[in-house]
C-alpha cells in the first residue's frame, strides 16, 4: 500500500538553531501512528511542520503523493489533513454547534449542509446534548472532545492529535482512546504525539521516536519502545526499562 503521508529528510532551523534534521518516516492510510520523544525533542516543531503552521527549511512532506510542505494550514486542511491543539483553542464566542459548523464549512459551503454535517459529527461523538451550549462553558474533557469534533467535521483522511490526553482523568482518557481507536475503521489515519508510553503501546501500531530533532528509531511500537537508545533518551540511562 502506498503511504498516506511521507516525510523525506525534513529539517527545520530557527536562525542558527536546528530544531529538526533529516526526519523521514511514512504513515499508511489505515493506521494509528505515534510520534514519541522526551520533552524538547522537537515533537511539536515536527507536528507544526506537517500541519503547515511552520514551513520546513529542508526536505519534503508528501500527503497523498502531493507536496504540502510550506503550504498554508487552510490548504493542507482542504487536502484532508487536520490537526488539534494541545492547548485547546475553541471559538469562545460561539456555541458548540457553531464551532463544529465552522469546520464543516470546509466540505459543505452551504449553511444548511454544514449544519447537518455538524449535527452528524456531534451525534457520533455523543455531544449532541451540548449543541447549543456556549463553548466557553465546557470543561477540559469536553473541550478536548470538541477539538476532535471540529477536526472530524473537516472530513479528514489524516488526523494529527497533539497530547489529547493531557489533564484528563483515567476514565476520560479511556473514553478518548476508544474514540481514537475507532477512527481507522472510518477511513481516517491518526498521528498522535503522546507522552504516556502505556497509551502509545495500547493505541498505536507503529511509532517514530525522536530526540534532539533527529529520528532515533522507527518501526512497530514495541520495537521502538524497546529500542535501547529510546530507553536511554527517555530515562537517561541504558539499563532502565520503560514500562508501566
Amino acid at each position: 500500500m502506498t503511504a498516506l503521508l511521507e516525510l523525506k529528510n525534513v529539517g527545520k532551523a530557527f536562525g542558527g538553531l536546528k530544531a529538526l534534521s533529516d526526519v523521514s518516516f511514512s504513515v499508511a492510510p489505515d493506521e494509528i501512528f505515534a510520534i514519541i520523544g522526551p520533552n524538547g525533542a522537537g515533537k511539536t516543531t515536527l507536528f507544526n511542520c506537517i500541519a503547515g503552521a511552520l514551513a520546513p527549511t529542508q526536505g519534503e512532506i508528501l500527503f497523498q503523493g502531493r507536496r504540502i510542505d510550506g503550504r498554508p494550514p487552510h490548504e493542507i486542511c482542504a487536502q484532508g489533513l487536520v490537526r488539534t491543539f494541545q492547548i485547546v483553542k475553541p471559538f469562545r464566542g460561539m456555541t458548540v454547534l457553531e464551532n463544529v459548523k465552522v469546520a464543516a464549512f470546509a466540505r459543505h459551503p452551504r449553511p444548511r449542509d454544514a449544519e447537518a454535517a455538524a449535527h452528524r459529527v456531534l451525534a457520533h461523538l455523543g455531544m449532541e446534548a451540548f449543541a447549543e451550549t456556549d463553548a466557553d462553558e465546557l470543561n477540559v474533557a469536553q473541550m478536548r472532545r470538541l477539538e476532535i469534533a471540529r477536526a472530524l467535521a473537516t472530513e479528514p483522511k489524516l488526523l494529527l492529535l497533539d497530547e489529547m490526553l493531557a489533564g484528563l482523568t483515567p476514565a476520560e482518557s479511556a473514553a478518548m482512546c476508544d474514540l481514537i481507536r475507532a477512527l481507522p475503521r472510518q477511513g481516517i489515519a491518526v498521528i498522535v504525539v503522546e507522552h504516556s508510553i502505556p497509551v502509545v503501546r495500547s493505541l498505536c501500531e507503529r511509532a517514530v521516536a525522536i530526540t534532539f530533532g533527529e529520528v532515533l528509531a522507527e518501526g512497530t511500537t514495541e520495537e521502538v519502545i524497546d529500542d535501547p537508545r529510546v530507553q536511554e533518551a527517555y530515562l537517561g540511562r541504558a539499563d532502565a526499562k520503560v514500562d508501566a
Binding site: A51, A53, P72, P73, H74, C77, A78, V82, R83, F85, K89, P90, F91, R92, G93, M94, E98, K101, V102, A103, F105, A106, P109, P111, A114, G126, M127, A129, F130, T133, E137, N139, Q142, R150, A151, A153, T154
Partner: protein
C-alpha cells in the same frame, strides 16, 4: 431564521422612525444623523466586533466617498450616479491594498489599529495639502435653487432620510445574510482564534480582506451620502480621527458581538448628543458625556448594552427549563 427576524424588526423600527420624523425638519435631521452614524458604526463593527479587526482609520473610507462626490460635483460636474460608484470602487481598492499589506505581515490588534490610523493620517494631511481638493478649506458642492433628483439635491430633508434609511437597512440585511453564511462563521472564527480557524480550513487573509473591503465600501457609501446631504466636505469633518472614534464609541456602548449593537449605540447617543448640544451652553458637553460613558461602559459592561440585554433575555428564557447545563453534563459523565 431568528437573525433575519431581528433585522426585519429593526427595519420596521427604522421605517416607523422615518414616518414619525416626517412631521418636522428638525426630527428628520436627527433621524438622518442617527442612520448615518448607525450605518457607519455597523460597517465598522463588521470588522471590529465580528472579525476582530479594529480599524482606527475608517474615516479614510468615508473621506474617499465624500471627496469623490464633492470633487466630482464641484470640479467636474459629475452626477452622483457616477461619483457614488466611483467613491465605492476607490475605497474598496484602497482597503484591498491596505489589507493586503497589513495581513501579509500579520498585523493584529494594536498594530493593525495604528497602521490604519497611519494610512488615515497620511490621507488627511495629503488632502489638506492638495489644491485640487480645496486644501483644509474643503470643497463646497454647487447648488441650484431647483430640486434635482439627478444631483441628489432637495430642499426638503425627507428624501435624504429615505436614502440613508435605505442604506442602513441594506447594510443590516447584507450583514445578516453574511453572518448566516460561511463567510460570517469564518469571520467570527477568525475573531475568536485565528490559529484554530486556519487549521480548520479558513483562509485567514482572504476572509479578513473580504471583510475589510466590504466595510470600506459601506463606509464610502455613507461618505458619499454625507457630501450630498451637507453639500460641503473638509478634511476635519470626513477624514478626521474623531469620526473613526465615533464609530468605536457607538459600537462599544451598543455592543460589538451583535450586528445591530452599534446601531443601538447610535440610536441612544446621537439624539442624546444633539439634545445636549442644544440645551447646554458648554462647548463639547456632549463629547464629555459620552467619553465618560465610553470609559465606564468599556470597563464594566464589556459586551455593551445590546450584549447585556440579550444575555439577560437568554437567561430568562433558559431559567424555567429544569434540565439546565449541569444535568446535561451529569448525563454525559454517566454515559
Amino acid at each position: 431564521m431568528s437573525g433575519f427576524r431581528t433585522v426585519a424588526i429593526v427595519a420596521a423600527l427604522v421605517v416607523a422612525a422615518f414616518l414619525l420624523a416626517l412631521s418636522d425638519r428638525y426630527y428628520m435631521d436627527v433621524f438622518i444623523l442617527t442612520c448615518f452614524y448607525g450605518a457607519l458604526a455597523v460597517s465598522w463593527n463588521m470588522m471590529a466586533g465580528l472579525t476582530g479587526l479594529m480599524s482606527l482609520g475608517h474615516a479614510l473610507f468615508v473621506g474617499i466617498g465624500a471627496y469623490s462626490v464633492a470633487w466630482g460635483a464641484s470640479v467636474q460636474g459629475w452626477p452622483p450616479l457616477v461619483t457614488w460608484p466611483m467613491g465605492v470602487v476607490i475605497a474598496v481598492a484602497a482597503a484591498a491594498v491596505m489589507g493586503m499589506l497589513c495581513f501579509r505581515y500579520g498585523l493584529r490588534g494594536y498594530f493593525f489599529a495604528i497602521a490604519t490610523l497611519a494610512f488615515n493620517e497620511v490621507a488627511f494631511f495629503s488632502v489638506s495639502a492638495s489644491v485640487a481638493l480645496g486644501r483644509s478649506d474643503g470643497l463646497i458642492l454647487p447648488t441650484s435653487s431647483e430640486d434635482s433628483v439627478m444631483m441628489l439635491q432637495f430642499f426638503d430633508k425627507w428624501p435624504y432620510g429615505l436614502i440613508i434609511g435605505t442604506v442602513l437597512i441594506a447594510t443590516l440585511a447584507i450583514g445578516q445574510y453574511l453572518l448566516t453564511s460561511r463567510t460570517g462563521y469564518y469571520w467570527r472564527a477568525l475573531r475568536d482564534n485565528e490559529e484554530a480557524a486556519e487549521a480548520l480550513g479558513v483562509n485567514a487573509r482572504a476572509y479578513k480582506l473580504r471583510c475589510f473591503m466590504l466595510s470600506a465600501g459601506i463606509s464610502a457609501v455613507c461618505g458619499a451620502f454625507y457630501a450630498n446631504y451637507v453639500a460641503f466636505v473638509d478634511p476635519r469633518s470626513v477624514l478626521g480621527i474623531d469620526l473613526s472614534i465615533q464609530m468605536l464609541v457607538y459600537s462599544i456602548i451598543g455592543g460589538m458581538a451583535l450586528l445591530w449593537g452599534p446601531l443601538l449605540g447610535a440610536v441612544l447617543l446621537v439624539p442624546f448628543s444633539v439634545l445636549l448640544r442644544n440645551i447646554s451652553a458648554m462647548q463639547g458637553s456632549e463629547i464629555i458625556a459620552y467619553a465618560v460613558l465610553l470609559v465606564v461602559l468599556a470597563l464594566i459592561l464589556p459586551q455593551g448594552i445590546a450584549g447585556w440585554l440579550t444575555a439577560r433575555w437568554r437567561r430568562r428564557k433558559a431559567a424555567p427549563r429544569p434540565e439546565g447545563f449541569a444535568s446535561v453534563a451529569a448525563a454525559e459523565k454517566s454515559a
